[in-house]
């Protein structure tokens, strides 16, 4: 039977032909899947830096192959992205000698110097008696820190990936806070629909578990302080949820026009049916009380996909485990899916792997495709006390068998940047 290569709006159908994953549970999809379906948590006590006296002392840190802590966040952010990309490209059969044949979209956190780097600069021999930034600038002027320059630019992660993967054109770094991963996918989908390219590589990667970032989120009262035991801290949709758990990880997806994927004999893992977004103009960290922007993003994704509420078989929730997010997400889902929501299973991977921030949208898309492929819904662990104000069919504590064809995946960011994806099974 001839496949339809155009969607209901006459646009190129965008397939996914390869995915890759890194999380606090491990490197690669297989390692992650085995633990996720068993409801295991990757959240642990932070050992990378001293935490005594801090309100939050846990995170979903990623352990490197050699067990050593990374020298900086950008270093691990890059390693994870590279690993996820390699896994995705291998699966897609796109390990071509002359590089990836399309553009690269990378969701990555802003790069910044950390205290070990500032210390190294401060300790550099200095002729004058300088203090503060004057001293750091004098050290930089010596020319002894050019490697540090390359590792701490905003372009660093995408640029280093471009050297390794050799995509076409300028590597794109995108940030929409916690919606970044979904935005990277959306940028790729749009480029393919425009006919700019047949294929695009979308990556979300984040290793923000460094001291100052932890303190900053803590000062915003965004983090769970339920430090002991760590694996019980992230509890989306529970009455006793008290904040999110910072975590690290990366997800990568090879996006490709269905037509070109099938023409080259690639396996189609799934379809990105639609993407939607809407920006909030209410507050820097809270969504508008009536949920306008979140509802708008979800509705726009459904419209873009041409999907009716009844078609959504499962919601991969943003589900951060903050009091605010989970309540607003429920209200918004209710507004868009209506009565159908009652019959729709919902879960949040963040209960197990924490909130991977810039990477979350990409990781959750990868997991959504794995759930469709395996006919298994991953659980929301720590769901022992349902919040009575959030009457959802949460996939509670244990994975659930189920045939799902269409998934709604939400991502909402600080700064009011909201994105939603409608993802579909291969056939």
């Amino acid at each position: 039977m001839a496949r339809n290569f155009k969607d209901s709006q006459g646009r190129t159908v965008v397939a996914v032909t390869g995915t890759g994953l890194v999380s606090s549970l491990g490197w690669g999809k297989a390692a992650n899947w085995a633990q996720l379906k068993a409801g295991q948590s990757g959240i642990k006590t932070i050992t990378r830096f001293p935490t005594d006296g801090l309100r939050t002392t846990i995170a979903g840190t990623v352990t490197r192959a050699d067990g050593q802590p990374p020298s900086s966040a950008p270093e691990l952010t890059l390693e994870m992205a590279q690993s996820a990309a390699n896994e995705a490209l291998l699966e897609a059969g796109l390990t071509e000698a002359n590089g990836f044949p399309g553009p690269l979209f990378v969701a990555t956190p802003p790069a910044e110097l950390e205290w070990p780097q500032r210390k190294a600069l401060y300790e550099h021999p200095c002729a004058q008696d300088l203090t503060g930034y004057d001293r750091l600038l004098a050290a930089a002027r010596s020319g002894a820190f050019k490697q540090m320059f390359e590792n701490f630019q905003f372009a660093t992660v995408a640029d280093h990936l471009a050297v390794a993967l050799r995509p076409r054109g300028l590597p794109i770094s995108v940030s929409t806070a916690c919606a970044s991963g979904a935005s990277a996918i959306q940028l790729g989908v749009e480029a393919i629909r425009r006919g700019d390219t047949d294929t695009a590589l979308a990556i979300g990667t984040d290793s923000s578990v460094q001291l100052e970032a932890l303190i900053r989120f803590s000062l915003l009262s965004a983090l769970s302080t339920r430090n002991d035991p760590p694996d019980r801290a992230s509890r989306p949709f529970s009455k006793s949820r008290d904040g999110f758990v910072m975590a690290e990880g990366a997800g990568a997806l090879v996006l490709e026009s269905l037509e070109s994927a099938l023409a080259r004999g690639a396996k189609c893992i799934g379809i990105v049916r639609g993407c939607g977004e809407m920006a909030d103009d209410y507050h820097r960290t809270r969504s508008k009380p009536d949920g306008t922007a979140i509802i708008g993003a979800i509705r726009n994704a459904m419209l873009d996909a041409g999907a009716a509420p009844e078609e959504i078989d499962y919601v991969n929730a943003h589900g951060t485990s903050t009091p605010e997010n989970d309540k607003m997400e429920y209200l918004s889902l209710k507004a868009v899916l209506g009565d159908h929501l009652e019959a729709t299973p919902v879960s949040s991977n963040k209960s197990m792997i924490g909130h991977t921030l810039s990477a979350a949208g990409a990781i959750e898309a990868v997991l959504s495709f794995m759930m469709m492929e395996n006919g298994l819904l991953l659980p929301t662990i720590n769901y022992d006390e349902p919040d009575p104000d959030i009457p959802l069919d949460v996939v509670a504590n244990a994975a659930r068998r189920g045939v799902i064809k269409t998934v709604l995946s939400n991502s909402f960011g600080f700064g009011g940047q909201n994105a939603a994806l409608v993802l579909a099974a291969a056939d």
Binding site: K146, F149, Q153, A155, L211, E212, L219, A279, F414, G415
Partner: protein, 412 residues
């Protein structure tokens, strides 16, 4: 997309820099090339910078609570975005704002230099191994909770949405100059393909920050001598002089603009970007040549104005000059102006700034005066029909934009 490509117009411009605010003050400053550029040579010595003119931020950011929640980088960007929305006739129009997409090229906001100095002194006093202990003890009480929100790259866009109610979508591109190149190229492609009708795109830089200067100077990229135009820094090794600036433009499909009676400064014919490897000499020049071929496919040789975003960093700037010489050899007779010589290098905001100034020049049918003292910029009697805007990153990234005068368009 099956739609034939749509025309992309520039229907609003918002500028803020050392030259002041708004279109008129920038035209004046650029025309006055004989006058000394506005430089602060002392405040960040040995690095000269182009400081922001004195601006009453409340004119575009009326709520004190909004002003308090942002740092200067965000003030500049939100202000320039507001000017562009005003200029395009979109500001305070809920219907139009609701379908205006936002695309921002951003780095990040300020650090608290006083707190950082305090931590560094504590680390130095304690000795070797306790780096993070000092930071951990000082930061939780010293950092303002809201400072984080001024540091996140995407929060410039967030604040533009909050202050000006731009809500259709919001995307932030990062990566120094590459951020500006990506933002513009993506926005133009979306409109050309019918994926959006109305996009507010731009960026901002607050150059008056030692922590920002540090990031660039790690790579020895800053000019640490008395002021010189960008073309005249090569003998001393090159370097850029950062400038505080905000530059936002409203891009609009011509159909949408016509339907609401908005007229354009200029048309964006095409934007092309790429990344030269820069492992060998000549690669930047070659990439620029290829990009020019790609975006000028329909042009036969003719005089062309070039608004160069050259930073002054070498050998990058020399390679761009070589490319411009190639244009001359190919019969395009470029009339060149480096706007960074007048306003400073504005990194993420630089490509949007160049496109803004290029559109202004086209709309008033006159190029700016050349910077005195070299053979690159020459006086011209009339302005060609088309303008090439160059964007070459001081570290990575190359881009070109081709602008064209629209007959019957807006006159500056």
């Amino acid at each position: 997309m099956d739609n034939p490509s749509k025309q992309v117009w520039i229907t609003g411009i918002g500028l803020l820099s050392a030259a002041g605010e708004g279109v008129a003050s920038h035209l004046d400053a650029l025309d006055n090339a004989a006058g000394a550029p506005l430089i602060d040579a002392q405040g960040f010595a040995p690095y000269p910078i182009h400081p922001l003119a004195s601006i009453n931020m409340a004119a575009q950011i009326p709520k004190k609570s909004d002003l308090r929640q942002m740092e200067k980088w965000q003030h500049i960007g939100v202000y320039a975005a507001g000017l562009a929305l005003d200029d395009a006739g979109i500001a305070r129009n809920p219907e139009l704002l609701g379908k205006t997409h936002l695309v921002v090229a951003a780095g990040s906001g300020e650090r608290d230099a006083t707190v950082d100095a305090k931590v560094l002194e504590a680390i130095a006093a304690r000795g070797d191994t306790d780096t993070e202990i000092s930071a951990k003890e000082i930061l939780p009480t010293a950092l303002r909770p809201t400072l984080f929100l001024a540091q996140l790259s995407n929060l410039l866009a967030g604040n533009i949405s909050i202050v000006h109610n731009v809500t259709a979508s919001s995307r932030t591109f990062m990566g120094e100059e590459m951020a500006g190149l990506s933002a513009l190229e993506n926005a133009v492609r979306r409109i050309a393909a019918g994926q959006a009708d109305l996009i507010l795109v731009g960026g901002a830089l607050n150059a008056e920050r030692k922590d920002l200067l540090l990031g660039y100077e790690l790579g020895c990229n800053l000019w640490s001598h008395p002021y010189a135009p960008v073309w005249q820094r090569r003998a001393a090794g090159g370097g850029f002089i950062p400038g505080s600036a905000g530059a936002f433009i409203v891009l609009e499909s011509s159909e949408h603009a016509k339907a609401r009676g908005a007229s354009p400064y200029a048309r964006v014919v095409s934007v092309g970007t790429d990344r030269a490897q820069r492992t060998e000499p000549g690669q930047i020049r070659r990439v620029l040549q290829q990009l020019f071929k790609r975006i000028s496919a329909s042009l036969s040789p003719e005089p062309i104005a070039v608004l160069s975003g050259a930073s002054g960093v070498e050998p990058v700037t020399q390679e761009e000059r070589d490319f411009l010489d190639d244009l001359e050899s190919d019969g395009f007779t470029p009339a060149i102006r480096a706007y960074g010589s007048r306003l400073g290098h504005t990194v993420e905001a630089h490509f949007p700034l160049g496109i803004s100034i290029g559109a202004l020049a086209l709309s008033r049918n006159q190029l700016f005066a050349p910077s005195p003292g070299d053979d690159v910029e020459e006086a011209v009697s009339s302005l060609p029909q088309r303008m090439l805007v160059t964007g070459v990153g001081h570290w990575h990234g190359e881009g070109l934009a081709l602008l064209e005068r629209v007959n019957g368009g807006r006159v500056s």
